[in-house]
Symmetry: C2
Subunit: 205 residues, 2 copies
């Protein structure tokens, strides 16, 4: 297994490959090809072969990829062959939807704590979790060695919340607030803002 | 204004620039620079200048960009100097959160119709909108000349729903279902799946 640094753009495509392989496995398909995968994903077969070649030899010329094996290798590379505990900060409409979402657990993530700065929400339960005060964030993150946070607070609060996360020891932030966070170089942060995706398409309409 | 084709990766960054410029304008800042914007966004100043140069001359050497002017030009380029009507399909937890979200309207989009295939939900109201049967989707899209859809249905239904959208005349789809849609080449489609973003970060942890 090569240990060289993998280009980030390649790392960014691996979760999409993993998702497709998991769907194939669920359909009972045991062997696939870069061509078949590419057709499903709208990515060229050559791109897929090149991306996967960074991680070693997964398929033999002409015989295709073993779906279960490649899926498991991608899980290992992405480190989702384990379960990451996640804190969710901000329990408005979106936060509630994320707290209820059933699609995290079998893909490597479990929301284990909910936080909100609204004292009216603190103490309420969503499923098995109780909404906690932001004042307890740092203790919870440290005690449970949590590295991943999802932020679903209004834009005006997101920067401060992100800084609180970093100070508590969070290493990776998925930010749903519609603002680009200013964080130290090298911080792992991803942004989800539906409007940027919509605006990217309307340019072409 | 040059009319040449803009690389899609550049188009993809413009909504992020627009968002930052709108925040600057809201803060009362009238002039900015590629350096200042880059610092906010974690993008190099040279990249920003190069991206914007595709669309003409927005700033003068040494004097920076006029925030309001550049924002308005980006709105025009992205065609969000108008309001796009949007249909939302799938009114589960996430769909409800999207229906309640206040951040679409001032950025160019308004959800004007909600659809679900659950007859128990049809007829329920969310704010001013009534959830409608999927059977009426095509008529609503055609009558109101709607081009943009958001899909928030379970993965197992997303492909069929996307095809129904295309058949009805939808031109751009924002898909929240955790599956890559198979649609004809050239279809405008964007995917939002929080797990792919999380997995992209855990690789580095």
């Amino acid at each position: 297994m090569p240990s060289k640094q993998i280009p980030d753009i390649v790392v960014g495509r691996l979760p999409v490959y993993l998702r497709a392989l998991s769907h194939l496995a669920a359909e009972g398909i045991q062997v696939t090809s870069s061509h078949e995968l590419g057709k499903r994903l709208g990515i060229s077969a050559a791109q897929i072969r090149k991306d996967l070649s960074h991680f070693g030899e997964f398929g033999k010329q002409g015989t295709g990829y073993n779906v279960g094996y490649l899926r498991d290798q991608l899980k290992r590379i992405l480190k989702v062959d384990r379960e990451w505990p996640v804190v969710l900060i901000g329990v408005g409409d979106l936060g509630r939807a994320l707290a209820h979402y059933g699609g995290f657990v079998d893909r490597g993530f479990r929301i284990v704590a909910l936080f909100d700065n609204d004292s009216n929400k603190v103490g309420q339960r969503i499923g098995e979790l109780e909404i906690m005060s932001m004042e307890t964030l740092a203790d919870v993150v440290r005690e449970r060695s949590i590295q991943v946070a999802m932020i679903a607070v209004p834009a005006a609060h997101a920067q401060k919340v992100a800084e609180q996360c970093m100070a508590a020891g969070i290493k990776a932030i998925l930010n749903y607030a519609p603002i680009t966070l200013s964080l130290p170089d090298g911080t792992l942060v991803q942004h989800i803002d539906p409007v940027t995706h919509l605006q990217r398409m309307t340019h072409y309409l």
